[in-house]
Amino acid sequence: MGKILKKSHSLYSALMFSFAIYSFFMLSFIVFTLLPSTSSLLVQNAIDRTKETVLQSAGSVDIYVNGLLSTLNYTSASITDTLGRDDARWQNQMDYFKESSSDITDMAVFKADGSLLYSTSGEMNQQEAEITSQEWFQKALLWQGSSTYFSSPHVQHLFGSQRNFVITLARSFYYDYSNNEQQTGVILMDVRYSAFEKLIKNTRLSVSGYLYILDEHNNIIIHPQMQMIYSDLYQEDTEPVVEHVLGITQDTTGSRQRSLIIVTLANTRWRMVGVAYYNEIFSLQSDFRRTMLLILVCAALLSMIPATLIARNVTKPILHLEHKMQKVESGDLSVSIGERSFTEIRAVSVAFNHMLARIRMLMDQVVQEQEKKRLYELNALQSQINPHFLYNTLDSIVWMEERGKSREAITMVSALARLFRISISKGRTIISVYEEIEHVRNYLIIQKMRFKEKFTYEIHMDEDTRNLKTVKLIIQPLVENSISHGLDHTSFEALHIAVSVTIDGDDLLFCVKDDGVGIPREKAEKLLAFPAGKSGIGLKNVHERIRLICGNQYGLTIQSEEEEGTTVYIRLPRNLEVSE
């Protein structure tokens, strides 16, 4: 099992295999544990049921016979009490009993000499001598009323022309007919054979088992195959029954072993025998075994359905998880796993989602930290004063003082001071548009004093933009680039720099335009895309700072034509809100 599972390549097949094996072994265990005891119980139950059927049938016969005996006893008692005094009474009773029961064909009362006292069926057609010679008459007298004689089935032809196939009941009674001595009589009751026959004829034990009744001489008097027995076409072996009056014995007829259940019937001296065939009783067992084995096979096959469904339900979220992990592996951290599954799978999914969220958060944190770091670097770089600019400005101030141009020197020093003050801005990154414009204006004042007529400039600021916020020190580097690269030293025409700030929809738009030498198109396109050379540091620095602070949709746009000039647009959000 372990080896098989180790060799299995999928959890699905392992689950399927395990569940199927488990189901099969569980079912086999149940079947083979319960089968022997259950099948034994079945057999025992069948035997008990057979015995019960025999006892019930015997009980039915006893009840029926008791009813007949009650009638007979009541009649004989009535005759004893009223014979000779009120004959009509007992005769009416006999007529009533005969009429009220279709099973009773005749009732008659005889004297001990065989003469007829009364018959419900009219005159007798036999001589008295013949009556006294009949067994029922002799036995009834012999037993002196202690018990009732039951004859074998026979055709009764005592009265008139009628003939009936009956069992005769007879008993003697005493009466005081002449008022001086007790005399004996015999009462006869003929009961249709069919009345007894129907009590047991259709009773079946197991499938083809049956009941039959033996009289006291071991003659079969009622049997389902009675006519075949009379025709010598069927023989019932009564030998094993002869010595028994109650209980179970067995015999074998042909190749069939039989169970013989014997019950002695009360009052009649008859015995009822139930015949049940063992092969039919045990066929229940074999049928049960076969059915159970079939159920086992079917259940094992059907267990494949839940096995498949369970394996599928268990492996589906795992496969889903694997799929999502592959996505994560390929770099997509935006995935999320549904959490509607088994508890364990849900726990894994939750943990996985938490892990992904944590990774995303950490990565965002790293990115933010990197951006901040970069921003700090850029800000720090931006805040640095170009030493050449500072040296040249200070040198110009010294030169002006030496030349006695104190006022101009004061102007330049003042501009430089304002320039530094705005550059510092108490460490803020965001300043007002006005301050930014003032910053570039002071820068241009200083440069104008240095370069005199080599360039001109103009600054236009919409009044609406005055108090809007902007990233600090983004115009000055552009203007510095215009001065540094736009001046054509071979030209006699002055460079013109125009700085403007306007509102463009939801954006704040700065524009620094010069009519200098311009930049080749290819170079202009690469200035912001790649780490540029020394000349591109300022522009890229500004561009990155804006995108880091405002987002990637903002930043610089450069338009330049050689010999025509360069225009740089800076787009910022109109309502810039950045926490310092």
Binding site: F165, M228, Y230, S231, L233, R290, L294, T308
Partner: protein
């Protein structure tokens, strides 16, 4: 998902197949006797007689044991047409109980044309016959005669019943042929035997009229519907009577032999019973003497 449905359907079909096979197996267990034997036809010209009714009962009871079933048909003048109509019913055999010789011949011919094997009762004209064992019956009658102590038997001349030849051949005592019943009065110690219906009736009438002593033992063959009355008068001491129920059982058994092709015999013979005034009311003879009481 499709492959799961295919798996489930395959499992369902397998389970259904297993259960179907099991059900068929169980049904086969229960119905195998019935399905083993095809229906049998019982043909007669008169279904009102007690002999026929007991014969039919015997066939049906035997058929119940073997799992077969019996269909009866009463033939009229157009027996051939009737049988031609029955030919399509796939009967395995036909038991023919017809006493009219013309109709019997017509029926047997029609059965042959319809390829239905025939079993005749009391004659050997069919493919198979269930017939009286006349020798056994004659032997029974002779034994009964001997029991009376008679060594001399009187027999009417011309009383040529079916078993008279057998009786004559095996009777080892004196056999006297008498021309008239009155001749019998000369042999008061003898027993009378009668075989043909005419002969029996003649002797009975003679007894009733005093032509023969009423106490002279008389053994004969079946007197038919008056057999009980004939025995009750005491004029007949013993009567050979065949048991129609048994004949029915044997006829059904013959059908099984014929359709099962078991054995090569084509005749089953049965012995009759001797009914006397002493046993005529016994339960085992009710079937013969008073079949309507059953």
């Amino acid at each position: 998902m499709k492959k799961y449905w295919i798996l489930f359907i395959a499992i369902g079909l397998t389970v259904a197949a297993v259960l179907t096979v099991n059900t068929a197996y169980n049904n086969a267990d229960e119905t195998s006797p019935a399905s083993a034997v095809q229906p049998v036809l019982l043909l007669t010209e008169d279904e009102t007689g007690s002999f026929y009714m007991r014969l039919k009962q015997g066939m049906e009871d035997e058929a119940d044991i073997t799992g077969a079933n019996v269909t009866t048909s009463v033939l009229g003048a157009d027996a051939e047409t009737q049988i031609a109509g029955l030919a399509g019913e796939n009967y395995s055999a036909a038991v023919v109980y017809i006493r009219d010789n013309g109709m019997l011949a017509q029926t047997l011919e029609a059965l042959r044309q319809s390829n239905i094997p025939s079993i005749t009762i009391g004659n050997a004209q069919g493919d198979y016959a269930v017939m009286q064992d006349t020798m056994a019956d004659a032997r029974q009658m002779a034994a009964c005669v001997r029991e009376t102590g008679c060594t001399r038997v009187l027999m009417l001349e011309g009383d040529n019943g079916a078993i008279s030849d057998d009786f004559t051949s095996l009777w080892d005592g004196e056999l006297i042929m008498i021309a008239t019943p009155a001749d019998g009065s000369r042999y008061p110690d003898a027993c009378l035997v009668g075989f043909s219906a005419q002969g029996i009736r003649t002797l009975l009438d003679a007894k009733a009229e005093g032509g023969i002593p009423a106490t002279m033992p008389f053994f004969c063959c079946d007197t038919g519907t008056s057999r009980a009355a004939d025995l009750e008068t005491g004029y007949i001491m013993g009567m050979l009577v065949s048991r129609p129920y048994k004949i029915g059982c044997l006829a059904m058994d013959a059908c099984n032999r014929l359709t099962g092709k078991s054995g090569t015999a084509t005749v089953t013979r049965y012995a009759s019973c001797i009914i006397t005034t002493g046993n005529m009311y016994d339960a085992d003879n009710v079937d013969i003497m008073f079949p309507l009481l059953l």
